[in-house]
């Protein structure tokens, strides 16, 4: 074991109470950052979950559409113009919108209806755990997620309710299709979706486009723009980015999450800096002795940085453990805290950077040591 490391660890662990306080501070700080960033990752995923699960390569939408949930409409006749563009294999309408769901007990709750053609290209529920997708062709059939059973007054398939005063029957149940807005998704056929949301028969929210094999995405996109005129044509990736941008930054939600994370970093930095500074001050005689016996500045800095790194490692281990617990506890919620491997690595690097950065004040203190003080103490 390096003597610098030994000196650092002994300095750090010598005052156990202060060490524990530091570690709690780091854990608090990093858990705060973890939760904020985990929410950010979770939110990022949740806001594009519909786009992620739609098998479309291109999305045709009204000009100015900000996100998937945007209720603007386009003329469905655009579908035939789209099909005439070289490279387009399929173009199908998707209708979305809010509607009132009347529970069997008579109370109502808002739902978000997603309607697409049941055959071929369409946005269908995934992770179906009860019933079958094919059963959605039955008149009045809808699919819901089991997360919302209680909200919708449903306990399983074949149960009935009303949607915009029309009788509906749950014929398929999915697992894990949750909405970050907490409004339940209800999947159905496109025509019925129009009826439930009050969308005119000639309108659709989106046209989903699948390309012919070997068609060039960019050329088809440009061809659609030229041919269709007053609409926007985005790739799935572009639409994802636009949705994220709107929900995360257009609404201020992302900024709030980042602000919380920044606050965590500031709190952590101040706590670690204060600890390292006071530890250095307590051991100032030792650092002066080191300097007197000829240690280089680098040698002393290494001791202080080892202290910072040790704090970072112990603090991060605690914070990561708590982060995992939080992630597990929120996994089934509307807005889960998601810990990806990349986020974990990023948080570790952030912790190390924060702790090493905090060593600056201690290093400045040491730089000012007069080694001649060893004769006067």
């Amino acid at each position: 074991m390096s003597l610098q490391f030994r000196l650092a660890s002994r300095n750090l662990f010598h005052d156990r109470l202060r060490f524990i306080a530091t570690i709690i501070g780091i854990i608090f700080s990093i858990v705060l950052v973890t939760v904020q960033m985990g929410l950010y990752v979770g939110f990022r995923r949740m806001v594009t979950t519909m786009i992620d699960h739609a098998p479309a390569q291109l999305w045709i939408m009204p000009v100015g559409t900000k996100c998937f949930e945007d209720p603007s409409l386009l003329d469905e006749r655009q579908r035939f113009r789209a099909l005439a563009v070289p490279g387009v294999a399929e173009a199908t309408p998707l209708v979305i919108g809010y509607a009132q769901w009347r529970l069997p007990q008579g109370t109502t709750t808002p739902v978000f209806v997603v309607g697409s053609e049941l055959r071929g290209l369409g946005l269908h529920p995934w992770n179906v755990v009860e019933g079958r997708l094919d059963d959605l062709s039955v008149p009045g059939a809808v699919a819901i997620d089991q997360t919302y059973f209680e909200r919708l007054g449903i306990t399983g398939v074949e149960q009935t309710a009303e949607l915009r005063d029309r009788k509906v029957q749950v014929m398929a149940v999915s697992k894990g299709i949750r909405s970050f807005t907490t409004t339940p998704y209800v999947f159905t056929d496109v025509e019925r979706a129009r009826s439930y949301t009050g969308t005119p028969a000639s309108k659709a929210s989106y046209l989903l486009v699948r390309l012919a094999p070997e068609a060039d995405l960019w050329k088809v996109q440009q061809g659609l723009r030229d041919s269709l005129g007053n609409v926007e044509v985005l790739t799935a990736s572009e639409f994802r980015n636009r949705s994220r941008s709107f929900w995360l930054f257009g609404t201020g939600a992302g900024a709030a999450l980042f602000a919380g994370a920044l606050l965590g970093v500031i709190v952590g930095t101040v706590i670690v800096a204060q600890t390292l500074y006071s530890s250095t001050k307590d051991h100032i005689n030792e650092f002066a002795t080191l300097r007197a016996i000829g240690s280089s500045s680098r040698y002393i800095y290494t001791v202080i940085i080892w202290q910072a790194l040790l704090s970072a490692i112990v603090g991060f281990a605690g914070a990561a453990g708590i982060g995992k617990i939080v992630a597990a506890a929120t996994a089934e919620s509307a807005l889960p805290v998601i810990m990806t491997p990349m986020l974990t690595v990023a948080l570790f690097l952030l912790t190390v950077t924060m702790c090493v950065g905090s060593a600056v004040a201690a290093i400045v203190k040491v730089m000012r040591i007069d080694p001649a003080m060893v004769f006067s103490r």
Binding site: T289, L290, R291, I293
Partner: protein, 239 residues
């Protein structure tokens, strides 16, 4: 004939600022030859500690020159001075300045670790030197488990483990009883038998006179007298 290992010429140094500014050294010259144990004696405030700090390259004089092992100190930056200290000067302090969280062996090892010596070599050297100062059996003890005399012996081991040319000791017996003080001075006198090394001891304690080869008296920032220690002086001191 032995070489001069530490030389200071016409040292002038001021301490404090403004109205409190005082001239601590007023043209001090001193040379230490290899094989010498020199005592620097003088009343409080005479400039002993300032002179020791300058000779130890811990402080830069306002005027005058210092040569350590033939190397001029003037103009060196703090890192170069630190290098000079770790390679050529060993320090012994009145209050030992051991690292309370490191055991005796690690405290001694530090002097070699700051030089970048390999851990295995440094450990072996530290054990050997602790044996030399009679603490081979206490190498794993923390300073708090050692007596004052033992702590000072660890400090001496740290000062000599690097085989530096110059050992500067500030009141090394000041906090010790007579028996321990004699033991410490015996160790320092043994070091000074090496013709390539010199020991300068700042002290108030006349009982250690018999261990010295020369005594330098400083008063009011000036060296007022230098004398070789004679047998008669040793007898008087012992009496």
């Amino acid at each position: 004939m032995t070489d001069v290992v530490l030389a200071a010429t016409d040292l002038v140094h001021h301490l404090g600022q403004g109205a409190g500014r005082v001239q601590a050294l007023k043209g001090v010259s001193l040379a230490l030859k290899g094989g010498e144990l020199v005592l620097l004696m003088g009343p409080s405030g005479s400039g002993k500690t300032t002179l020791l700090s300058i000779l130890g390259c811990l402080m830069t004089p306002d005027a005058g020159t210092v040569h350590v092992g033939g190397h001029a100190v003037a103009g060196l930056d703090s890192e170069a001075l630190a290098k000079l200290r770790r390679e050529r000067i060993g320090f012994i302090f009145q209050s030992y300045h051991l690292f309370p969280t490191l055991n005796a062996e690690d405290n001694v090892r530090l002097a070699l670790d700051v030089r970048g010596e390999r851990a295995r070599t440094a450990k072996a050297a530290a054990r050997e030197v602790l044996g030399t100062v009679g603490l081979g059996h206490k190498r794993k003890s923390l300073p708090r488990a050692l007596s004052g005399g033992e702590q000072q012996r660890v400090a001496i081991a740290r000062a000599i483990v690097g085989k530096t040319q110059v050992i500067l000791a500030d009141e090394p017996t000041g906090a010790l009883d007579t028996a321990n003080g004699q033991a410490i001075m015996t160790l320092l006198a043994d070091i000074a038998k090496d013709p390539s090394r010199a020991v300068l001891v700042v002290t108030h304690d006349p009982r250690i006179l018999p261990f010295a080869s020369r005594v330098v008296h400083i008063e009011d920032g000036r060296i007022v007298r230098e004398e070789a220690v004679t047998e008669s002086m040793k007898k008087v001191s012992n009496a």
